[in-house]
Amino acid sequence: MEKKQVSIIVNGERKEAEIEPRMLLAHFLREVVGLTGTHIGCDTTNCGACTVILNGRAVKSCTVLAVQANNTKILTIEGLSRGQNKLHPVQKAFVDKQGFQCGYCTSGMILTSYWLLKNRKNVSEEEIRAAISGNLCRCTGYDSIVESIKEAQEMMKEEGDALEHEQEITVRSKR
């Protein structure tokens, strides 16, 4: 089994490593890059705790090989906030509306919500529920999560153009 060189932009920083081809993106992020905000829940493509944004689309990082993500841009929960004490509107809405309890599903939920709100305007409750159907939560019963996403949509609307022009991936440092 030949190792492979990968180069992946994670939250704006280029990460290069030589890895076994069978390494999953979730493990690459947690163990090679050291970002443990991406959780592994079911490890069977059902729960969405491992959700990250790959080239603008929310995917389950436990079911993507790190080599498949070579030359892509990844956004994890660590890259979403705009610096210390400046939460992204989706994060703030989850806090304000109590969109989580134990927090295990939360990074995945927030990233799926972010992907939804970035890509669709004026989403209905039905669309919200459909969008998070690949993300399981064992605590909240989902209602507070749906309320959080509605709130986030309002907050993002208010921010208007500022958000539209923002880069998908926040560059925090260059190498």
Binding site: M1, E2, K4, E20, P21, R22, M23, L24, H27, D43, T44, T45, G48, T51, L54, R57, A58, V59, K60, C62, T63, V64, L65, V67, Q68, N70, T112, A130, A131, S133, G134, N135, L136
Partner: protein
């Protein structure tokens, strides 16, 4: 869970991919989005020593309106099929199925080519291919060939693709102006795969059906083309009674097995109901009523 070790190749052109497939023979497999393959590898249900990814090959992802048919690249994502304006307009039956396949995160990674080549009897797109009468373009080292959907799905996890071939394109022939289709999927709880699902595509001349395609998902070793029901409705008006008889044929000609989803008889009853709904919806979309 970590997959067993394998060598990984990401060729940048299709010829190179075909050469690798041929070099490693039975030990090699194509990787598209991995949304079917990775779970199998992680659970160690299968071992594949050589994985050949199509993701670095340009030009395999497109939805092109050509003369007489819609051409779809094999690597087109399920989410792009779901949201494509032209597919919603010309083949709402396919948008129906893609929008109900798995969940949005899986659809963001999975491809139409992977869904069709995998040939799991519970995969949703094969039945739609059968109902529309799609043509698959298979590329081998010696060139390309066309395979009709009705000849493509052979058995569980088995298609007409030779080992050294890659599915590169799916062609959906346009039906007439007064045509429409519908895919109705019956699921239990939050489980994604269906207990049963039915794809119905119809074309009308006035009130009469002049062409039809009907196929099932999850109720046999592969998607089943319901030829008897297809023929039965041709030349007829879709009255309640005709629809009821066609739905009965689908329920009888399918091959459901009793399992944790339900008994055989339960599944036949589901089929009666969803076939009725699918025919009515296809009829409406074809401009009938």
């Amino acid at each position: 869970m970590i997959p067993p070790p394998f060598d990984y190749f990401a060729p940048t052109d299709i010829q190179e991919a075909l050469d690798l497939l041929n070099k490693y023979g039975e030990e090699a497999k194509i990787l598209a989005g991995g949304q079917s393959l990775m779970p199998l590898l992680k659970a160690r249900i299968t071992t594949i020593p050589y994985l050949i990814s199509l993701s670095e090959i340009r030009g395999l992802s497109y939805i092109d309106e050509r003369k007489g048919a819609l051409h779809i690249g094999a690597m087109t994502l399920d989410c792009d099929i779901e949201l494509s304006g032209i597919i919603k307009k010309r083949f709402p039956i396919l948008a129906d199925a893609a929008g109900q396949l798995a969940d949005p995160l899986v659809r963001n990674m999975g491809t139409i080519g992977g869904n069709i080549s995998h040939a799991d009897p519970s995969n949703d797109l094969p039945a739609v291919m059968n109902a529309i009468g799609a043509t698959m373009i298979a590329k081998g080292r010696k060139g390309s060939r066309e395979i009709n959907a009705s000849d493509f799905f052979i058995d569980t996890f088995t298609t007409a693709l030779d080992h050294g071939e890659i599915l590169t394109e799916i062609r959906l022939p346009f039906w007439g102006n007064s045509s429409g289709g519908s895919y109705v999927k019956f699921k239990k709880g939050t489980w994604n795969f269906s207990v049963a699902a039915v794809a119905v595509q119809l074309e009308l001349d006035g009130k009469k059906v002049i062409r039809s395609g009907i196929a099932t998902t999850s109720v046999g070793p592969r998607t089943l083309k319901m030829e008897k029901a297809e023929k039965f409705i041709i030349g007829k008006e879709l009255t309640e009674d005709t629809i009821k008889q066609a739905a009965e044929m689908v329920a009888r000609d399918s091959q459901p097995a009793s399992d944790s989803y339900g008994s055989e008889e339960y599944k036949r009853e589901i089929l009666r109901r969803i076939t009725t709904d699918a025919i009515k919806n296809a009829h409406k979309r074809a401009g009938g009523e």
